[in-house]
């Protein structure tokens, strides 16, 4: 990982970071007072319209992957990375079409609860609970990694410090009872994140239009001024034309100190190497990403690795269907008064996300233009954070940088708090005895595990990690919900078999990506050819497999279709006006 050295620590940024953290904690404490008197869900369900609800869902949903990762991937991979935000948004169309209204009418407020309601099996409920816990924990890993990256880059301290600090804030907040999923707070988070990403994007857009640029040149991006990049982990870069650069460290296995000309081809830079590029110098680009701007601008080169078309389709399947199974999002649908408003909320979320993602896209383009040195190490997740300061000098740039930093911290805190509350809630009620103490124990455990994973794991792009988590959700909870809602023939055994199969396949792929190491290591096969494409983007294999197993096993065990499936279907699908629905709110425990 690289730190961009030579910059003094900006005071405004530190203040921005602190302000975001303090406000989040304060809101958490205030929120406890509000939430203690009565269940927020029940209050919200009677007072909150679809718009507020949609903003709250978006606020909880827009994580580090959206705030930092999308722009970074666009800077690195160009047109093909646009599929990430498209998928993140299109997922809500899937949710609208197949899940929103029937799930709300079922009255179930979590996926394990739905499993028990629909199939009458407490063992299936437990299995669904395990899957929810795994998904939440995996989803927290990139949040903590993003936090480490952000704090590390902005303050120049080791990345683990930021990850530990944010994890501790989140755990302490949740253990203290704070950060209940208060609708208004989460709705505010959406507008904060939108502001923090839109204002810099618009300011830079004005700056962009005021200059002449050639974004499609058949040449690599160039640095605007003399730039020093420190390489902190070994990296392979590609060079399309000769680049003269100052290198102090290891280049292609040999010790080098002085000006070197990097010839066309691939070069390996060792950890600890400092690379100095003079103003106007072309930038070597991390291997696997498009090297020239012309290649970058055109779709079809994929997201690093082979079989780009498969990558795009598999990614879309995973994100489109994975959104349907995200536990911390589904909980929010319970705050809709009825199925009709659940649909309207989903539609409004599509609108809000569509507006949000315009800006990371813009920032990604600007990042390639103005902070191309990030492409050397491939840690392009830092793009959004570094852009304002490197383009605009003086207090204006510092203010924008502080705004972005505050938005990023808000994104980590809100999403990981929401996830931790979800996982601690299901763990404490379904595994432990559901007392307040159990909730706290569960919160500490469920917070420490992803922190350890975040510290120990190879850091891949934030959005890619999140994409893998979506693939796990798409291969487990999505078939359970979709078949449970639309197919009477589903049995508990079939649902369990499908979830286990899909979860193992997608989970194994995620695990291999996390621990498989760099290309050339012991798991080199996970980086090349079809195995590499499937491991990196497993959804196109694991999702159909999960559906297939679920259907086949259900057919074999058809004698075990629940007796009351007709009544269950009437409750899920009949409009509320007929009076067949019933909330399971008696089961809601206040934690």
């Amino acid at each position: 990982m690289a730190t961009v050295s030579g910059e003094p620590i900006p005071v405004a940024t530190v203040l921005g970071l602190l302000a975001a953290a303090v406000v989040t904690v304060a809101i958490g404490i205030y929120g406890v007072r509000l939430a203690r008197t009565t269940s927020d869900f029940l209050v919200a369900s009677r007072s909150v319209g679809p718009r507020w609800n949609a903003a709250a869902i978006s606020g909880e949903y827009l994580s580090a992957a959206s705030f930092l990762g999308v722009a970074g991937l666009i800077a690195k991979y160009g047109a093909d990375a646009l599929w990430y935000p498209v998928g993140f948004t299109a997922g809500y169309l899937g949710l609208l079409l197949f899940v929103a209204a029937p799930l709300r009418r079922s009255g179930a407020y979590t996926v394990p609860d739905f499993a028990e309601f629909r199939l009458g099996s407490t063992r299936l409920r437990k299995l669904a609970m395990v899957v929810v816990a795994v998904i939440c924990i995996l989803y927290m890993v990139p949040q903590f990694q993003g936090a480490g990256l952000t704090v590390g880059i902005l303050l120049g301290i080791p990345t683990w410090v930021g990850a530990v600090a944010v994890a501790l804030i989140v755990i302490a907040n949740v253990v203290g009872g704070g950060m209940r999923s208060i609708t208004f707070v989460q709705a505010f988070q959406y507008w904060l994140k939108l502001t923090a990403v839109a204002v810099p994007a618009l300011v830079l857009a004005v700056h962009f239009l005021g200059e002449e640029h050639d974004l499609g040149a058949p040449a690599p991006p160039t640095v605007g001024e003399r730039t020093t990049v420190e390489i902190t982990t070994d990296v392979v870069v590609q060079v399309s034309g000769p680049i003269a650069a100052g290198v102090d460290g290891t280049l292609d296995g040999a010790d080098v100190d002085g000006i070197v000309t990097l010839g066309p081809g691939e070069h390996e830079l060792g950890a600890g190497t400092a690379l100095v590029l003079e103003a106007g110098s072309p930038v070597p680009v991390v291997a696997g990403a498009p090297a020239t701007d012309a290649d970058w601008l055109e779709p079809g080169s994929g997201l690093g690795g082979e079989h780009p078309l498969f990558q795009v389709y598999s990614l879309m399947i995973g994100i489109f269907l994975g959104t349907v199974g995200l536990p911390h999002v589904l909980v929010r649908f319970y705050t809709n008064p009825d199925g009709r408003t659940a649909r309207r909320t989903s539609l409004a979320v599509i609108g809000l996300l569509g507006v949000f993602y315009l800006f990371p896209t813009l920032l990604g383009v600007f990042a390639r233009l103005w902070v191309p040195q990030l492409l050397i190490t491939g840690t392009s997740d830092a793009a959004v954070l570094l852009l304002p300061g490197s383009v605009l000098s003086g207090p204006g740039g510092q203010l924008l940088a502080a705004l972005v930093a505050a938005g990023a911290i808000a994104a980590f805190l809100s999403t990981s708090s929401g996830l931790l509350v979800s996982v601690a809630g299901v763990l404490s009620t379904d595994v432990l005895r559901g007392r307040v103490r159990d909730f706290r124990v569960a919160a500490v455990l469920a917070g420490v595990v992803p922190l350890l994973l975040a510290l120990g794991m190879v850091s891949v792009d934030l959005s890619r990690t999140v994409g893998l988590v979506f693939a796990v959700a798409a291969s487990t909870l999505c078939p359970l919900l979709v078949l449970g809602i639309w197919w009477r023939g589903l049995t508990a055994v079939g649902a369990a078999a499908g979830m286990v199969t899909g979860g193992l396949v997608a989970g194994a792929a995620a695990l291999l990506t996390a621990v498989g190491g760099a290309p050339g290591g012991w798991a080199d096969w996970t980086h090349t050819g079809w195995p590499g494409a499937v491991v990196g983007y497993p959804a196109a294999v694991s999702v159909p497999l999960a559906f297939l197993v679920m259907v086949l096993v259900s057919r074999v065990t058809r004698g075990r279709v629940p007796q009351d499936v007709g009544r269950t279907f009437a409750r899920m699908h009949a409009p509320e006006r007929l009076g067949v629905g019933r909330d399971r709110e008696g089961d809601l425990r206040s934690l």
Binding site: L82, I350, G354, F569, A570
Partner: protein, 111 residues
């Protein structure tokens, strides 16, 4: 007055049929589920078809990738901006039709 009263009595009976899962009630729910699923699948296929056509069209007609509208390359305009209104329109279509299906169901139950 008498007619209205009878009508009211029938509403109660048909609703009870749905609630109590009689054969008539069950058949009505099956019809509604089929209609809603068909609608959802059709619109999902429409959206998926539109989206998945984009990479294929670019492979088939490489010129499209270099076409510019308002100074922006076509794939960037389509995937970066135009996708979102299209998703919204498909979602709006779905809500309208799904609510009509439900209204027909309620009318049938009240008839």
């Amino acid at each position: 007055m008498v007619l209205a009263k009878r009508h009211g009595a029938r509403i109660v009976r048909t609703r009870v049929e749905v609630q109590e899962q009689t054969e008539v009630g069950d058949a009505m729910i099956r019809g509604l589920v089929r209609a809603q699923l068909g609608l959802a699948l059709r619109l999902a296929l429409l959206a998926a078809g539109l989206l998945s056509a984009v990479p294929l069209l670019i492979i088939a007609f490489p010129g499209l990738a270099e076409a510019e509208v308002l100074g922006i390359r076509l794939p960037w305009l389509v995937l970066g901006v135009l996708v979102y209104p299209v998703l919204l329109i498909v979602g709006k279509l779905y809500i309208g039709r799904a609510e009509r299906n439900e209204q027909e169901f309620v009318d049938l139950a009240d008839d």
